[in-house]
Amino acid sequence: MNVLTQKWPFYISGTVLAFMIVLCLYLFDDTIGMSDGMLVVSEYCNTAVQEKMVESPPPLDWQTGFLGGIFIGALAASLMSGTWKFKLFQEGEKGIMRKFLTTAACGLGGGFLVMLGLQLTGDSFFGQWAAAIQLSAGAWVFLIACFVVASGVAILLERRREGGGKA
């Protein structure tokens, strides 16, 4: 198997993910995640909008560096494995207007709710994952609630979508 071009099977992905989380705890003595990096970017955007000007790029600390690193790594991996695709709309709808509205509504609304939930718990999703590995009861409550609700709502939406055209 070519590790650079092929997909990784679950036993490799799962093992590497677990090792990476513990490795980050060793390297940084802190959990990793995107929310803190996004907080910095959000604060930067807020200041730029209020002052109606962009004087300098966002501050480069380890969290925004991590964010940039993810972008570079994902770009390299998708180019190497041939999964890089330019897509303006998510799949599943027909008609350009319908596609646009569904993509915007699902993206904006879904993203808002995901970050709202994460901010309420005070950590990123992978931060919660790392906390679950450290046996944090709060993280387990969060993850179980999140997956049960997400799965339930997704199944309901799918049933509604499949039954929509039959009535």
């Binding site: 940084f28 003595d29 959990t31 690193g69 994902a74 995901v114 005070g122 931060g127 609630a145 799965s151």
Partner: protein, 190 residues
């Protein structure tokens, strides 16, 4: 032994490198694609679930032994029962619609899925909103329960009171169950 606890420029450089590897891992393990995430939530495809359950099984065990020899410290932010529960419900609701968390949104954007910018915009909008209602949150959700305590004191991994053993065992059994029950659909990265 102690954690490395990098600081300054070393921390920044290592964070970029670790981020790059994470980005690579998320693409290679199919964790970043909308279709794969949706198929996992619809219980049509078990491969992502197996990856996540295996990471729990190995991660919990690895952390237990790494903490025992002092390689890592417990780093958990304070959590409150109601905040975790309500946060999980809201996050799950959002996940059903956009099928992405902040980390996978950045990975998808880097992989050419430009429409993820809507998701990232939604995420960035939520941050000032939480600031706006933070006063109300501290008097309600965070005030309804005491912070949850997490630390446990067990000396042996095979102690029946060891939560790590139970969690990794249950995750392993669930993973085996998922392996033999849920099918596999082709990934959305193609």
């Amino acid at each position: 032994m102690e954690p490395l606890s990098l600081t300054g420029n070393y921390k920044l450089v290592v964070a970029i490198l670790v981020g790059m590897f994470f980005g690579f891992l998320l693409v290679k393990s199919d964790l970043a694609w909308r279709k794969n995430c949706l198929n996992m939530l619809l219980l049509k495809d078990g491969s992502l679930l197996k990856t996540l359950l295996l990471s729990i099984t190995i991660g919990v065990t690895l952390f237990f032994f790494a903490e025992k020899i002092g390689l890592v410290h417990l780093k958990v932010r304070p959590s409150y029962f109601w905040a975790s529960l309500i946060g999980g419900i809201i996050c799950g609701l959002g996940l059903a619609f956009c099928c992405r968390v902040p980390l996978t949104a950045i990975v998808s954007l880097a992989s050419g899925r430009i429409y993820v910018l809507w998701t990232i915009a939604g995420m960035l909008l939520a941050i000032p909103f939480v600031k706006l209602i933070s006063g109300w949150l501290s008097k309600s959700v965070y005030d309804w329960s005491e912070p949850i305590k997490t630390q446990q004191q067990v000396t042996s991994y095979f102690d029946v009171n060891n939560t790590a053993l139970w969690i990794s065992g249950i995750a392993l059994l669930l993973g085996i169950f998922v392996h033999f029950t849920l099918g596999k659909e082709e990934g959305g990265g193609k």
